[in-house]
């Protein structure tokens, strides 16, 4: 396949196809209301929902921002704690045996029950929501990072150890990067659900606002268009959360989607620099590593 063609195809695919399917969804939504004559207080039309969004834009966007912040803080906290936990568990069988059942049990407790307790402990502000989101992200991160660590080829570790790497260096070179791929699989799955977690937190009790709180208020007033406005924004937020994770993944794991390193990678910048400034690289084979000149040179 010619490269330019592929590039255009992928742009069309990546932007055009999702837009088309969203348009179709909105079309079906409008059509269903039209066909079955559904009243506006049961299901508002797309136009009514759009009006509800634009009409209360500043409040909604403020709420979305609060929910997004809860998501980001909680997500980052969950990843950090989960990663640290997985590393500790990978170091010792004892720690792993001791912690795993506790972790599984913690996942069996309904998040809504924990949310109630968290309000008692942490109040109505940002903190309990962040903790809920962190709790949701935490477990998949632990499981997948552990999987990544155990999937590392022992020969690979032996090789770098035989090349003189310290244990820590071998870990950083071979084992740590091997956790990125499974970790991002976990993060993509939990990204959207984290937004739900933030909403659950806001529902339990909130004085700090957020889209969840907005949704609850609109619902209690039977303001269906406003409810749907919040739903649409929550969906958008979930999408943004997911895209954020994908963007970070692409940035941190370029080898998964690219065949060559980026132009601004260190070695490429180095090569560009040496080409323009310093004399050309010797091509006579006389450049053998480690001060051991070949006798043929």
């Amino acid at each position: 396949m010619p490269p330019e063609r592929t590039w255009k195809d992928s742009i069309a695919l990546q932007i055009g196809a999702p837009l088309a399917s969203f348009a179709l969804l909105v079309g079906v939504w409008a059509l269903v209301i039209e066909l079955f004559d559904i009243p506006g207080y049961v299901l508002p039309t797309p136009t009514a929902t759009f009006d509800a969004i634009t009409g209360d834009w500043s409040t909604l966007i403020e709420g979305a921002w609060i929910t997004f912040k809860e998501f980001v803080f909680g997500f980052v906290a969950g990843v950090l704690v989960g990663f640290a936990c997985a590393l500790a568990m990978a170091q010792s069988r004892l720690v792993q045996r001791a912690l795993y059942p506790v972790l599984i049990a913690s996942q069996a407790v309904p998040i809504i029950a924990i949310a109630a307790a968290l309000v008692i402990w942490l109040g109505f502000g940002l903190a309990p929501k962040v903790v809920i989101v962190a709790l949701i992200v935490f477990f998949p991160v632990v499981v997948n990072v552990l999987d990544g660590l155990s999937s590392v080829d022992r020969d690979m570790v032996n090789l770098v150890r035989a090349m003189g790497a310290s244990r820590l260096r071998a870990f950083r070179t071979v084992e740590l990067p091997a956790t990125y791929t499974p970790m991002f699989s976990a993060l993509k799955l939990s990204a959207t659900f984290s937004v739900t977690g933030a909403v659950i937190g806001e529902w339990t009790a909130s004085t700090s606002g957020g889209l969840g709180a907005y949704l609850l208020q609109a619902n209690s007033r039977l303001n269906t268009p406003a409810t749907f406005a919040a739903i649409v924004l929550l969906a958008a937020l979930g999408l943004i959360a997911f895209l954020c994770v994908v963007a970070v993944e692409r940035w941190l794991t370029p080898w998964r989607t690219r065949s060559a390193a980026r132009r601004w990678s260190r070695s490429r910048r180095w090569q560009a620099r040496t080409r323009s400034g310093a004399p050309a690289v010797r091509a006579d084979g006389g450049a053998v590593a480690g001060g051991q000149p070949p006798t043929t040179a």
Binding site: D153, D155, M156, R169, Q271, T274, V281, G290, G291, P294
Partner: protein, 253 residues
Amino acid sequence: MPKLEIDGVTRRFEDTVALAPVQLAVDAGEFVSIVGPSGCGKSTLFNIVSGILRPTSGVVRIDGTDVTGQTGHVGYMLQKDLLLPWRTVLENITLGSSLHGRVTDDELERGLALARRYGLGDFVHHYPHALSGGMRQRVALMRTLAMARDVMLLDEPFGALDSQTRLEMQRWLLSVWQEQQRTVVFVTHDIDEAIFLADRVVVMSPRPGRVREILDVDLPRPRTLDVLTSAPFSALKARILHLIYDLEMADAA
């Protein structure tokens, strides 16, 4: 003084003798192949020389120095290329330097020169998944070369390649070896490969793993493909086949 000396090395795993006393001296710049059926202890010997495994008895010396059970004295390469998927070709070649701190511009330049010299110049910034099996093994060998060890152990490095690529890689390895003047110990189960590459072929046999015979390969260098069908080559091959398979039949009888 031999470059590499394996002196009375044995290895037992519980009750089984994996390796009966092995005596082998390899000169500097020599290319030695070790050939034998599975279970003949060639991989055990490989692991002992590389320092990953300790022998039950015996000593491994490099330049007369006892290096038994110590890693880092030889460069080694396996059938698996063991390239790090998140590193580019150049970063994989300079892996050894990166393990001791930041890779210097000088080390990068040497890595690049190696890659260019041996046909990887256009791929230095590619990730391993974008390369073919043969190219990946080339990168693995560049990485071993860049480690700057006089002795290189290669354990069936081309075992996973198709026969055409394998032949191409063998010829390429010979040209690299001739230029770089390293001492090479090459483990393989492919008799043609063992003869084609080596100055001497060490034939090993199983139960217990031991050196059966060491044969000189008196074929002119540089070797071309014609060597593979020459009379001395066939004679050597017949001799090795006889050593390996008559023995097996005698065992079975």
